[in-house]
Amino acid sequence: MQAVIQAANVSKSYGKEKVLDNIHLSIPRGKVVGLIGPNGAGKTSLLRGILGLAPVDGDLQVLGMNPKHDREKMIERVSFIADTAVLPNWMTAAQLIDYVAAMHPRFSKEKCLSFLQSTKVGLDKKIGKLSKGMMVQLHLSVIMSIDSELLILDEPTLGLDILYRKQFYAQLLNDFHDADKTIVITTHQVEEIEEVLTDLIFIKEGKIVLNASMDQVAENYIELEVVQEKHHLALAFSPLHQRSTLGGYRMIFEGKSKADLAELGSLRVPALADIFVAKMQGNV
């Protein structure tokens, strides 16, 4: 099956600074992919290239189309939230919904209104008068009401309280996602999306440092809790990262034998946030 996003040798520079460095990527249909990286890693540049919002070098195809040249056609099948608080503040919520309904052939006004019923967003209220949380709720409701094949969310829950963030991801999976729809999410709150992801991409200094399914991540990464006495033995296995705990260490290993490490202490699957820190901070 054709990949939803296919990137080969994708690069981008601002002057001498390279923000995307020879990216190769293939995201199949039906996946929920987390694109995670620290600030300045190149996430937004990559997403904007995918959305045709900024030019990139190399070969980039989205749903078989060139995002730059076929943008209007592509956007009928791709929806996105590239930032929070970007809605026009002079419009009312109702005017916004009517506008999108007229412009987007895949938008369902009924669906959008039903999403909004569970929020406090007043349809007659100007967007500029809504709280930041309500603004995000409105934006998400509009975007989720578009029957798109690819949904790209760049920090979608920024500014939302924990209750709505949980509700949002649940809604995303229940009401939007299915086998034909692909979702790409970037966020700093890694722990929040851990349970919804099927695949994971870590990006660091413009390069992809991890691209794997969550199953592969669970298989390849091990966290070992080791006591002080066995620390030197564990170090011999070249951990990816370590941090000290009360009376010992927690170490993360990549691609090591679970049986060998089990002799040194207790093992568990590391949290995504810990793998992220390990990959970003480099080898011990």
């Binding site: 904007r48 959305l51 919002l53 900024a54 030019p55 209007e72 056609k73 956007i75 009928e76 929806s79 996105f80 939230i81 590239a82 930032d83 608080a85 970007v86 809605l87 026009p88 002079w90 419009m91 005017q95 009517d98 506008y99 999108v100 007229a102 412009m103 987007h104 052939p105 934006h139 975007i143």
Partner: protein, 285 residues
């Protein structure tokens, strides 16, 4: 670029909502002020002070006079409103994050720019016509009331003999036809709006003024960069075609007038295409 009526309707509604204070409310408020002045004037001159039969005849002229005054006021203000609209409509959204929302919808920049052109070249003349029509009726009603109060009833046909109800249509035609000749400016303002990094209104007006001033200074030392002579030629062409825009009977069509019209449209279209290209190829977000 696909243009459907539904999409176009939504796009124009968006423009009107975004700029309703300047484009809708300002001429309405000005007209209300004009009406208030007219009521005061009619009362003072025709009822309180000069309520005599001999002066009633002046009422026939007072109505079109009031119409012209109001239309002139609105047109003068609207002229600046539209320059401000043209110079800001492709600038405001790209200077805020709003552009990220607009670009998440399948609306091409060509469609977007065409929507703004329709606002200036079709909606604005029609809206002004509607206001002028309402004002014509209100001024006429005012004149009829004033005449009746003086005891010398005046009939509506007498007013229409002064073309009171034709005037709004005449002005609408002037505005629409004139906007075709003004297409180089409309396109230039859109291009500035799509291109500059700051102060689009100031730059749009400042650059030609600066060039003119430079040419003026250079002329003092016998050097010309051709700006002033171009302006003179352009102004002469306008003087020549003004009777045509005003539907005056004495106008005689000349082939250079058609060339002027066609070249105005062509230059305007080039600027507009350049604006669309800039919108598609500038990445400030």
């Amino acid at each position: 670029m696909t243009i459907s009526v539904k999409k176009l309707h939504a796009q124009l509604k968006r423009e009107i909502n975004e700029y309703k204070i300047s484009i809708i409310y300002t001429p309405i408020v000005l007209s209300i002020i004009s009406l208030a002045i007219a009521i005061g004037t009619f009362y003072y001159f025709f009822i309180a002070k000069l309520g005599e039969v001999s002066h009633i005849k002046n009422l026939y002229d007072a109505v079109p006079m009031a119409m012209y005054a109001n239309a002139g006021l609105i047109s003068g203000v609207y002229f600046w409103i539209l320059i401000n609209y043209l110079t800001s409509c492709l600038y405001d959204d790209r200077k805020s994050k709003q552009i990220l929302f607009w670009r998440s919808l399948p609306v091409s920049e060509g469609f977007n720019v065409v929507g703004k052109l329709i606002m200036v070249m079709v909606f604005a003349p029609l809206f002004i016509m509607l206001i002028n029509l309402v004002m014509a009726i209100l001024f006429s009603a005012l004149a009829l009331i004033a005449a009746n109060m003086t005891g010398t009833p005046m009939e509506f046909p007498e007013l229409s003999a002064n073309h009171v109800l034709v005037l709004p249509f005449q002005i609408a035609f002037d505005n629409f036809f004139g906007s075709l000749y003004l297409m180089p400016f409309i396109g230039y303002f859109l291009l500035v709006s799509a291109g500059v990094n700051r102060f689009p209104f100031v730059i749009a007006l400042g650059v030609p003024m600066l060039l003119t001033f430079m040419d003026y200074l250079l002329n003092q030392i016998q050097i010309s960069i051709g700006v002033m002579s171009a302006i003179k030629q352009y102004a002469q062409l306008w003087v020549d075609i003004l009777p045509a825009i005003g539907l005056q009977a004495e106008y005689h069509f000349k082939s250079e007038h058609l060339a002027f019209l066609l070249s105005s449209i062509a230059v305007g279209v080039i600027f507009i295409i350049a604006s669309i290209w800039l919108r598609n190829n500038r990445y400030e977000i």
